[in-house]
Symmetry: C2
Subunit: 423 residues, 2 copies
């Protein structure tokens, strides 16, 4: 099945916001075994939208359209759909009922402007929006099934799942087709190396395809399986995951698509262990990433973002002599930071980062991209020093954070050389 | 001038990555007074790209194309451009020289695969890429001027500025045209209210247009000025900014497009003052936002991300009785957190957040969206309590952080009722 995506709205057209809806829709469709051929974005222009809808309907069997379903003058997508289909707009009683229900549930009064949102192209089927006032709709244009969804992501996404993917999946299942995407996450090898290692694996079974995705600094391996529903495909996916793990070893973070902070959090929760951080160059990024993990309050106790040396001394107890002798970016300092975070928080483990994310602050001895990572454990503490050359502050901070998390992941897995740990 | 944008590549087409390039290009072109009519995205498909290029060239006077200029088999954009123009590919000596220079500067050897990247459509003009191996190029197709840039954002963006915007600006200046975008940033009023307040201002001068952009939780007012270069337009922009400030008052953050953390950082730097944070529900987000500000080491000393109550006690000295009596989400606790962060860091000011970002953890008394913010100053300390109903963890954390930063901004501006500050 071939699909196209259309995003409408002057905010997206003019670049005021990036079109993240198109990516979310494309990913969902592709994961369901539907090939997305093209995305298009145009502004709030009735004739232009109608022209694009007609062109899409000639080329694709499925089209997903977002935006322009709101109550204002700028919201012209329903009118454009009617124009494209050569039908009239009519007030849809079901759409009106759904909107009234939405307003009532919020204790609000429906305005006349909102009533306009119930005007749908003749023969369109309303799609309920439980998170906003703009109903979506589905209609047929030639051989193409078009779904119209609002542009606000938190309204669009549940409707995509509920009204589009389920509908398409039912359609595929009726035809006995099978689609699934599995994700194996990795950290520590460049994309080219991961690709090289897996080159022959993909060719072994025509029902499976392997794709790589860079979610810096992680590389995600996506296994697309498709075909008729039959015995053995799930076993084959399991065998492929084993083969991937044999080749990439400790670089594999998760076979269930989990990212590094979530994997580390899960390991800590499994052990009933707690973690504290002492961040300098990562500036709160590690804390942010950990507290984005559901259930993080079960293992995460503290991050001391000690930007100033005085704060490293006062909060973490880093020695004045250490800072004077070695400076802030040093393995001894990193180790004392981690020890201090562990001590002050009472956590089982602590990680620290101190480095030079750039763009300024580098020297010949410690160029931009240098990071020292401290790890404190019940067995003792250690530190590491690495150098990266991304030349980009944001990338440096993200690789520093991931390297730190990965040190603890490897330590907890028994894969970090213990001789390095100093008691 | 009408423009279109084409993004090529299976990673974007399939939704593996969002098309942030298109937004960046659209914004840059629109800021330069060029209207972007449409973005398109297709995969690595020579015939399809060629077909889209021809369609774009029929509709637009300018087109910017990204992606598909690399050394692999998938990189087919130059071949597609040649196909669209009905010309051959030829090895461009200037492109080859530039690539050799790039490899030499990195101490690397150029491979045969890279040599392919010097194959450009006949009559195309090479555009140097100083940050990668893939050269861009410019060519004419009918009445349309097409620019081809690589897809990697950190290579694309400098080339967009250097080769596309400068070129188009020179073209406009030769015709005596003037374009400028000014941005006034605001926080604290909903978009609808800002729009209502400014409704009549935009109509006063046809050379000026006002647009709103939501960069949650800030609302940015964009003033587009265009026309023939003439006396008085800059004065008129200044008058408009004064009128905006008269209407929105203390809600205006900056007339130079600066966002809240940068504005607050600037105020602190101006005063030679320092800041510490004590974060609970914001989980490091405030520290991350401050350390994203250039020069943040000049004012930012510490953020204690005290997720656990024990860490609030141990690091910040929050009283056990306070936590037992009032709980973690409380104004007294928030105030003690701020006082503790100020004391332990020696900072002049401290802010704290403790609240319920969700999705879980809410109660009837303290629903999801509740936040308490503490502010400690040399004059004494105070706390605030707010409730938000975005129902989204990420949005809650961002509004909590902004509310906290804004309390200090207003306090430093003398706009926060001083009677609330407790000594």
């Amino acid at each position: 099945m071939r699909a196209e995506i259309l995003s409408t709205g002057d905010e997206v057209r003019s670049g005021a916001i990036a079109d993240t809806n198109a990516a979310a829709i494309a990913e969902a469709l592709e994961s369901g075994g539907i090939t997305v051929m093209r995305h298009t974005c145009v502004g709030d222009d009735t004739e232009l939208i109608a022209e694009v809808l007609q062109a899409m309907a000639r080329r694709a069997e499925v089209a997903v359209v977002t935006g322009g379903l709101g109550p204002t003058m700028d919201d012209v997508t329903a009118a454009a759909a009617a124009l494209a289909a050569g039908v009239a707009l009519r007030e849809d009683p079901e759409a009106l009922t759904q909107m009234e229900r939405f307003f009532r549930s919020r204790g609000l009064e429906m305005t006349a402007a909102n009533r306009k949102q119930a005007l749908l192209p003749d023969k369109a089927v309303v799609l309920e929006n439980k998170n906003g006032t703009a109903p979506g709709f589905r209609m047929q244009l030639g051989d193409c099934r078009l779904y119209f969804l609002p542009g606000v992501p938190r309204e669009m996404k549940p409707m995509l799942a509920r009204h589009v993917l389920k509908d398409l999946k039912a359609h595929q299942q009726a035809e006995g087709r099978f689609h699934r995407v599995d994700v194996v996450t990795t950290f520590g090898l460049p994309e080219s190396v991961v690709g090289e290692e897996l080159r022959d694996l993909a060719a072994a079974d025509s029902r499976l395809q392997i794709g790589l995705r860079v979610l810096f600094p992680e590389i995600h391996i996506r296994i697309y399986s498709h075909g008729k529903r039959e015995e053995g495909l799930e076993t084959r996916i399991g065998e492929l995951k084993i083969a991937i793990r044999e080749r990439l070893g400790k670089r594999v973070l998760s076979e269930e698509g989990r990212r590094l902070p979530e994997v580390l959090g899960g390991m800590l929760l499994d052990r009933g262990a707690t973690l504290a951080l002492a961040e300098s160059c990562t500036g709160g990024l590690m804390a942010k990433q950990l507290t984005d993990v559901a259930g993080s309050s079960g293992f995460f106790l503290l991050s001391a973002v000690t930007y100033a040396n005085a704060a490293k001394r006062a909060v973490l107890g880093v020695g004045s002599e250490t800072l004077a002798q070695y400076g802030a970016v040093d393995e001894t300092t990193a180790r004392e930071m981690a020890e201090g975070a562990r001590r002050v928080s009472g956590a089982d483990y602590a990680l620290s980062t101190t480095g030079i994310a750039g763009p300024d602050g580098g020297s010949d001895d410690k160029p931009v991209g240098t990071v020292c990572i401290g790890l404190a454990t019940p067995e003792g503490s250690t530190a590491f020093r690495y150098g990266f050359s991304f030349g980009d502050r944001d990338m440096n901070r993200r690789i520093f954070a991931a390297m730190a998390f990965d040190r603890l992941r490897l330590y907890l897995s028994g894969l970090l050389p213990l001789k390095k740990v100093r008691t």
